[in-house]
Symmetry: C2
Subunit: 767 residues, 2 copies
């Protein structure tokens, strides 16, 4: 039951911290020394190779041009200027569609907020029930909310009517957006020039054959059953050990560079090191020699391992990438069942080469279903019982316990100031650490479930994370208590009491959620644009590890949109907006500010910073839509519950069709649009085949596809660059505006490093 | 709380009525005059054209050979003798798999019953809690049930262990059965000789084109997008008006035959009739002349209408049957998406020609989803609120009401005996009439949902009917009260109280369900074999309408397995068996008797009587499996509820993994087997294509498919016979034993009648 005052204070704090972050960003971004932190995307694209404000001497590092400081906010309009087609070209469809989620928030909530302020707020305000009940503890916010209506008030009908209006408006916006994004996806796929994944199907669970190798078996099977279309195939090796070696070599190389740099700064003194644990014990050796020897040794091991993998039949996974002569042939194979046993010869579209999650390609069918069962149970326990281990850790962090175990700390702990700090912070820190690590846990669980593409892993993580946020943040805040206690309450309550219990507390929590939006939303987004961690990391690397321009490029950490973590958070704001639209409309402006700010910031980031790991062609949109529908249904059920506690039974019945309509709307959208994300239409494939054959009749597809799906550790370094160059050559007409500045591809950037894991690899070999 | 006595009485009554039916059947079936009622299948197959015990004169109608009366039960072993492959050949896979459902019941429940009687019954019996509580009203049945254990008894652990054993046994049987039936289906499809539906895909929602007719549009689209595979297509006409005319003509013809027969019996007297309503008013005319004129007039109208349909572009539906040069091509087209808009050019396997439900072929995509919404809401109300209109009708049937409205009936009604009869029966009759009509309502609703095959309609009706039976028969009997009251109770109860409430009353209802099994199961099945209605109808038709041998054949009503009505009833027995297996095992023998008897009876019926309308290749099995899994989960949850009222909390927790495991098992089975029912593997298609091309290189597929998917009213009468003959010729080696007796197909059976609706049509034109 917050008061306007409290909110004003919270708003003040958060607005100033957000402004602080934005100001810091505005100043830091125009310093030449930070150019690679705030504009890495342009370096990776090859359109920028040195800071734009580069001066001589001191001004090489600090921007001394005062006029630029006056224009310190001009990144905001700049972020909006790039038109969408160019944005798609520049950052990929995934990123362009991702920022549209924020825009979608504005589209939904700006009209709803206007309507709510014109209709609902006056209705609530003028009711004045709370004023008459002197003993009630109310404040200004509550006077604007539905609580101000007395029980059984006729005015609830206005709220019910508005609930319908809001729902239909949301339907309209959602349907329209799904349509637009589906069209964008189809156009994107159609406009793409030739790509390996368009011709390739991933085949898993190749059954063992006593007489043939996996490779022969695959070839014979597809040569028979797709006689006119089969072209070639690429078997999959289990190269996990090799990946480990490559990873280790990379670490050693960093140290080698570090010592070489030291030596270069101070040629007189040969750097030395100790060979033991963490360089603390052991023999003293010449560091440069030592690392050179170690790396040479590792290279040898790597070669041996590579030979072993290539020749060992056990290292061949029962999976293959099968390529076809035409996209039509690939589309057919990906969508059909191959044999009467549906657990073998499973075919699906191959993900992009850089999107493949190699370790999961070999999981057999039965194991997959066991894994799913285990992970489903684990997710249930994680969501509802995660407080138990946390509470255990917190009890360990108890001061008396620490004193008992480590008596020598007693005098320090007993100091009053320290004691209160520890007692205040330690339990909170345990929880905070858990929450920070949570997306990582969820990602690990998704990996264990056996998804075969990185984009698929991201999507799966997003949905589990949203479940967690919904249960623990949303419900957990509305009904105080842990999720476990809620679960206990819920199963001991009548089914129709649950929405009542939750719905009843909804209006009282408005202040809390307004504060939440400001802390997590406003200040969080402003912190995102500042990129504090990459800023620090870049300068550390730049100081110790960078020798050449190429090293510096490598030291950049552009990062990427982390769909699995950020999307569920947006969904939480949608949920809050939809739930409070009818109940306490005063919350809406805060959410609108969040969506606007986030839209600005993320549009800026995808233009200047992020470098996507993969391009899935907005494959995540059906998930986004599903969660929005779920949020809509939750909001309707909670409104139902709230109204049924207000002695307005008749009006409650009037709300019942809403969830039914929403579920129906969901199925309509699903049937209408989802196939565009799951299947690939034969007509489009035929059109593209015909066009490509006409444009390039002499093209050797076999040559083109030969190495596309080779495991990254076996791949020649410049593979992706070749593909990228090929694409650039094919698309000379659709270049981004700024691209003209420097269009010759950077030659063989990192000859020294073989790509490591596919994510790392693609980040370093961007298209 | 039934007593053993009550059950003995009920058993006595039901066993004697069942035996009565069986005895009547045994005697009636060997009378030559009934031969066509009890052996129509053989007549339709063409292997029998006159009764086997045919004598001269009197013995033409009544069997005078007394020795056959001694062997009156020999139909039972005979029903079991035909081996399964022959049964499939003779009656189709659908029928053969259908009777396996009863066998499945035996496989599941015989071992469970044995184990329950060895382990659970002694445990329950020896507990003797009920004996010590003298004030309790218990009986022998309860002493054998779980109620005999005291609250918090340690013996519940034995029941929990048995619940696990029963569940795993059911898993094993279900998995094995699914596997067997999937293999049967695949073998059946593979062994079939050439059939039109193997090469044909149904295309719906052909988008309108301003320049081309539907036919041209279809041809161009498939010629482009399935260049190497497209063969031909058949457009679909809206012939519903024509079907009405044909239907009407058939009725008139029956009257003509009736009067002609009268005239033949009594050549002196010309039969006359009145032309007005029901022949009661109007001008007196010569009946034969009148009907001949009417029929001639209708024939003319029919021709006009046929011409109109063929030439009117509005009568052409935006749908077509597209045929391909190879099964591979058809398999590809059926499984893939054609264009980027997933609401047009929808392709799916064409049902068998006789399985097509023509009126639904033209429903547009958006309308379909609206229809589904409406039907879903209607089904919900039908299931939970069906008592409201019934109660209204019953109140109308109230005596005082009748007296008030129709005062002249008062003296009749006031007689005491009549009054009690009316008051006792009328309300019951209203309910009974509703329940008899219910499957028809549900079928109509399924039709409105827009399914395009008769088999699909049957499957859909079965699932809605099962929902109805579950809510109104099972739950409705356990918790007394209407479904509407239950719903009200349920939503006002805590979620964990619902299984408790239901679970608690489960043991008390054992006697009721035992009686139910005997009345509905034993006596009902025995009545099925007697075929009272077809028996009466045949003799009526035989007396008035039959002139020739062909007419007599037409007068037979072999009927068919009515999947939509009978399968949900079997499922109810599975549900009862699974629920009571742990709680009151004494119910199991009654269910086992039901399954044995039903297996015998239905095997006899599909061999000798039923003539299936269509052959879907056991496409219904996934539904059967799903409902069995649902029954298993219900039984587990109810056991959980029951135990949690017995102060055995710990043991309750031990049961929680069961439903989770069951759901998981469901998904494993679904993933493993379901694709065989949804998709058609390319490998099989390729094998069959290759074989057929090798066996019959000169075959003109285009000629073969030309008229296969013409609407029945446009079709030449002997179309199906041609197909049937073709099949017979191709399969001379796999004949049924009795077929050798008379293998020449009956020539042009019903030249006089053009087929009417597809059901009627196929029943008259059997393969």
């Amino acid at each position: 039951m917050g008061s306007l005052n409290e909110i004003a204070v919270a708003a003040g704090i958060n607005i100033s911290s957000a402004l602080g972050f934005l100001l810091a960003f505005a100043i830091l971004r125009i310093q030449p020394i930070n150019d690679r932190v705030y504009f890495p995307k342009w370096y990776l694209k090859g359109t920028r190779s040195s800071p734009r404000h580069l001066g001589a001497g001191f001004s090489k590092f600090v921007n001394a041009d005062l006029s630029t400081y006056l224009r310190f906010l001009n990144w905001m309009p700049a972020a909006l200027q790039m038109p969408e087609p160019e944005l798609i070209e520049h950052a990929g469809l995934d990123a362009a569609v991702y920022v549209r989620i924020y825009l979608l928030g504005l589209k939904i909530f700006v009209p709803i907020a206007l309507l709510a302020f014109i209709v609902l707020v006056p209705v609530n305000w003028s009711s004045g029930t709370l004023e008459h009940e002197k003993d009630l503890n109310y404040d200004e916010i509550d006077k604007l909310s539905i609580s101000n209506l007395g029980k059984g008030s006729k005015r609830f009908w206005i709220h019910i009517a508005m609930a319908y209006v809001f729902t239909f408006w949301t339907f309209y916006v959602l349907f329209h957006e799904y349509k637009v994004i589906t069209t964008m996806r189809l156009r994107f796929l159609a406009n793409q020039s030739r790509r390996p994944d368009q011709f390739t199907v991933l085949v898993r669970n190749v059954p063992p054959d006593p007489d043939e190798t996996v490779s022969e078996h695959v070839e014979h099977f597809f040569a028979v059953n797709h006689r006119d279309h089969y072209l070639s195939h690429q078997i999959v090796y289990n190269a996990n050990a090799l990946v480990g070696l490559v990873e280790k070599k990379k670490g050693l190389k960093n140290w080698l560079v570090y010592y070489e740099n030291q030596h270069a700064h101070n040629p007189a003194k040969k750097p030395t090191m100790k060979t033991g644990l963490w360089g603390l014990w052991g023999r003293k050796v010449d560091a440069i020699e030592y690392y050179k020897a170690e790396i040479a040794e590792l290279c040898k091991q790597e070669d041996v391992e590579r030979q072993k993998v290539m020749s060992d039949p056990n290292a061949i996974m029962p999976a293959a990438f099968v390529s076809f002569k035409s996209q039509w042939g690939a589309a057919v194979c990906a969508q059909t069942q191959q044999t009467s046993n549906p657990t073998v010869w499973l075919t699906e579209w191959a993900p992009e080469p850089r999107d493949v999650y190699w370790p999961n390609l070999a999981i057999p069918f039965v194991e997959l279903s066991v894994r799913r069962l285990i992970i489903a149970v684990a997710l249930f326990f994680l969501t509802f019982f995660f407080m138990i281990p946390i509470a255990f850790v917190q009890s360990l962090a108890n001061l008396d316990e620490i004193e008992r175990l480590l008596p020598f700390l007693k005098p320090i702990i007993e100091r009053n100031s320290l004691k209160s700090v520890i007692q205040g912070f330690l339990p909170g820190i345990a929880l905070k650490v858990f929450l920070i690590l949570l997306p990582m846990f969820l990602m690990t669980m998704s990996k264990m479930e056996g998804h075969i593409s990185i984009s698929g892993l991201d999507r799966r993580t997003a949905s589990t994370y949203f479940m967690f946020l919904f249960v623990n943040v949303f419900l957990g805040s509305v009904i105080t208590g842990t999720a476990f206690q809620q679960l206990d309450t819920f199963i001991h309550q009548p089914a129709n009491k649950i929405p009542e219990t939750v719905g009843e507390s909804i209006p009282m929590k408005a202040t809390f959620f307004i504060t939440y939006v400001m802390v997590d939303g406003w200040a969080g987004i402003a912190a995102e644009v500042l990129r504090l961690k990459p800023l620090v990391m870049f300068h550390i690397k730049n100081t110790f590890l960078v020798r050449t321009e190429q090293d510096r490029q490598q030291a950049m950490d552009p990062g990427s949109l982390d769909f699995g973590t950020t999307e569920p958070r947006i969904q939480l704001y949608f949920l809050l907006g939809l739930v409070y639209a009818v109940v306490t409309p005063i919350l809406l402006p805060f959410i609108i500010v969040f969506f606007s700010l986030a839209y600005l910031v993320f549009r800026h980031q995808i233009i200047n910073v992020y470098n996507q790991q993969y391009e899935s062609g907005a494959l995540f949109w059906p998930d986004v839509q599903t969660r929005l529908i779920a949020a809509l249904i939750v909001s309707q059920i909670l409104l139902l519950g709230l109204l049924s506690t207000q002695e307005a039974e008749k009006s409650t019945v009037a709300l019942l069709p809403l969830p039914v309509l929403t579920i129906w709307f969901h199925y309509v959208c699903k049937g209408r649009f989802e196939p565009a994300y799951v299947k690939f239409p034969l007509q489009e494939a035929m059109v593209k085949d015909t066009l490509q054959r006409a444009n390039d009749p002499t093209m050797s597809l076999r040559e083109y596809l030969k190495d596309a799906y080779v495991h990254p550790v076996f791949q020649k370094d410049d593979m992706y660059e070749l593909i990228a160059m090929d694409e650039e050559e094919k698309n000379p007409t659709v270049a981004t505006k700024r691209q003209s500045r420097m269009n010759t591809p950077v030659e063989s950037k990192f000859n020294s490093s073989v790509g490591t894991s596919e994510g790392e690899f693609s980040r370093m070999h961007p298209a």
